[in-house]
């Protein structure tokens, strides 16, 4: 009886099942195609058309010493920022996993507030703090550690301080999410079998958390490659990153072909890394993933 009753709507819903999701997804996909993919295709065309349909613009990116240097600086800053962000985010994320209730809520709030503060604003704040008359130099002078002032601003140090502060909230949240998936009874088991707290962490929890660390590293690295505001405001010309060079090509030199070519190479790089991330950590885990 129930079987028959269920069969009728099911036959209808099979048809329903094919047309409905397509209809629901269509507006979003069309929008992405028109306002995201089509402009990228246009940009690709511009990069080739600029020098009468040749790869000259790309050749310039690969051969000019300026681009080589900027690319190396970009990779260096992004790598160091990623490592620092992970080193700082790990203990914070771990603290979040062993706290609960109000304390965890409070910590999460403190981690999240800066995430909702504009990047220019956060960078601007370091501009004030790290300057010659900024708080840090004033404190160092008062303590008699330095005379005069340390040239903190317009250096790789300043850029990294700014970048890591911006990357940290996301890194913490991604690591925290990964750590929550670790089965805590395994650590309890290690302790029952005589491992000290530190040993249980080192031999059980830490290795289990490594996939999460690798995932966060890829994500944070991809985001760091595209930084514009922080190196522009806190760095010297020597800390120029690729987004700034592309910006100058486009808005100052009005060389759209060259800007497009460099932009596409940057896009290819980030897409490859994001694809690796997606292959192993699946981006759609963000909404519960395909296994949901």
């Amino acid at each position: 009886m129930t079987a028959i009753a269920e069969q009728a709507p099911r036959a209808k819903s099979v048809q329903h099942r094919q047309a409905m999701p397509a209809l629901l997804l269509l507006p979003a996909l069309v929008w992405i195609a028109v306002f995201f993919l089509l402009p990228l295709v246009l940009m690709c065309w511009r990069s080739l058309a600029a020098e009468s349909y040749s790869f000259k613009a790309y050749w310039i990116v690969f051969s000019s010493p300026l681009y080589t240097k900027v690319m190396l600086t970009t990779l260096e800053s992004a790598s160091i920022a990623t490592v620092l962000a992970l080193l700082l985010a790990y203990p914070m994320a771990y603290t979040l996993t062993i706290t609960s209730g109000i304390l965890r809520g409070l910590l999460l709030m403190l981690v999240f507030i800066p995430y909702w503060v504009d990047i220019i604003v956060r960078t601007f704040s370091w501009l004030i703090l790290l300057g010659d008359h900024g708080l840090i130099n004033v404190l160092l002078r008062k303590l008699g550690i330095v005379h005069g002032s340390l040239p903190l601003l317009y250096s790789e140090f300043a850029v990294l301080v700014g970048m890591v502060q911006i990357l940290l909230p996301l890194t913490i949240v991604v690591l925290f999410g990964a750590m929550l998936r670790i089965d805590r009874t395994l650590i309890a088991a290690a302790k029952i079998h005589g491992a000290s707290g530190w040993n249980a962490f080192r031999t059980v929890f830490f290795p289990l958390s490594l996939p999460g660390v690798y995932g966060a590293a890829l994500l944070v690295f991809v985001l760091s490659l595209g930084f514009y505001v922080t190196p522009a405001l806190l760095g010297s010309p020597r800390q120029t990153m690729i987004a700034q060079t592309i910006m100058v090509e486009a808005s100052e030199l009005l060389d759209w072909g060259q800007a497009s070519a460099a932009g596409l190479l940057l896009l290819i790089m980030t897409t490859l890394i994001a694809a690796i991330y997606n292959r192993y950590f699946s981006l759609d885990r963000l909404w519960g993933g395909s296994d949901a």
Binding site: A22, I98, M109, I113, V117, D118, V222, L266, D284
Partner: protein, 264 residues
């Protein structure tokens, strides 16, 4: 190490990290109330003069209005596009789901400068440059993932039997979704829409190319002023953005608490 020492070390590390995260925010807030003429921390005295300067400057007022308009339109577009997509991804077996998910999310990991230049090149022939609608159309692409993620999360935790019950009692399936399911998942949708708004309000590079001349939004105005001037007006403008962020946080937490009460 004994357990207490572990905790002390961890606690100290966590405190230092939180200080590093929060301190820049406090500095900007403090300077915005400065009585002095320069960007100094700690400020020499307190006043509201820089807020008054912003309220009295038509350029800043217009910048905030532009940001408000672009952000609201972005949030609206992202919601209209993202909510149906979330339904499809959560409730149906969709072929190539991983690829579709990646496509929806990829705007978030694309370097902003690339999106900015390609959008500009695309908008020039269409005449969408210098238009609020144009900027909102572009921002909707990267705002959409926030709506999809949060709607999908609410949708998965919502009890589908309530919708089924309505249908069994004679409601049209679409009507059941509108009257039963949408109200249940509305906190998720609202959070997503707010995040899409915040994302739009913070976005600099696309905004700089599309609305860089007249009618700048706040971020573009702050960015051009940061490089030119050095009085605390920028700090006050930033503080208003921070206020906006804190307001957002409070409304999101309230929405989440409401959702939890309703589901629990």
């Amino acid at each position: 190490m004994n357990p207490t020492a572990d905790r002390i070390v961890l606690g100290a590390a966590a405190t230092a990290i939180v200080a590093y995260l929060i301190f820049p925010v406090i500095v900007v807030l403090a300077i915005s109330f400065s009585a002095g003429n320069f960007l100094e921390f700690p400020p020499p005295g307190l006043s509201l003069r820089w807020y008054r300067a912003i309220a009295g400057d038509p350029e800043w007022v217009s910048a905030f209005m532009v940001t408000l308009k672009v952000g609201s339109l972005t949030a609206l577009l992202a919601t209209l596009l993202g909510v149906p997509a979330a339904f499809a991804l959560v409730r149906y077996v969709v072929p190539a789901k991983a690829l579709l998910s990646a496509l929806i999310l990829c705007a978030l990991v694309t370097p902003p400068i690339v999106t900015a230049i390609s959008t500009y090149l695309f908008f020039v022939p269409l005449g969408l440059n210098n238009s609020i609608v144009g900027l909102a159309c572009a921002h909707a692409v990267s705002g959409m993932p926030f709506v999809v993620i949060n709607t999908a999360a609410s949708l998965r935790s919502a009890d589908r039997n309530l919708e089924r019950a309505a249908i069994i009692h004679g409601a049209h399936p679409l009507w059941a979704i509108i009257r039963i399911t949408l109200p249940i998942i509305s906190p998720g949708i609202i959070i997503g829409a707010i995040l899409a708004f915040v994302h739009s309000a913070h976005e600099l590079l696309i905004a700089m190319f599309v609305l860089g001349g007249v009618g700048k939004p706040v971020t573009v105005k702050i960015w051009s002023d940061v490089q030119a001037t050095s009085d605390p007006t920028i700090a006050a403008a930033s503080a208003i953005l921070i206020g906006l962020a804190i307001l957002t946080f409070v409304s999101v937490s309230t929405a989440q608490a409401l959702a939890r009460r309703r589901n629990g």
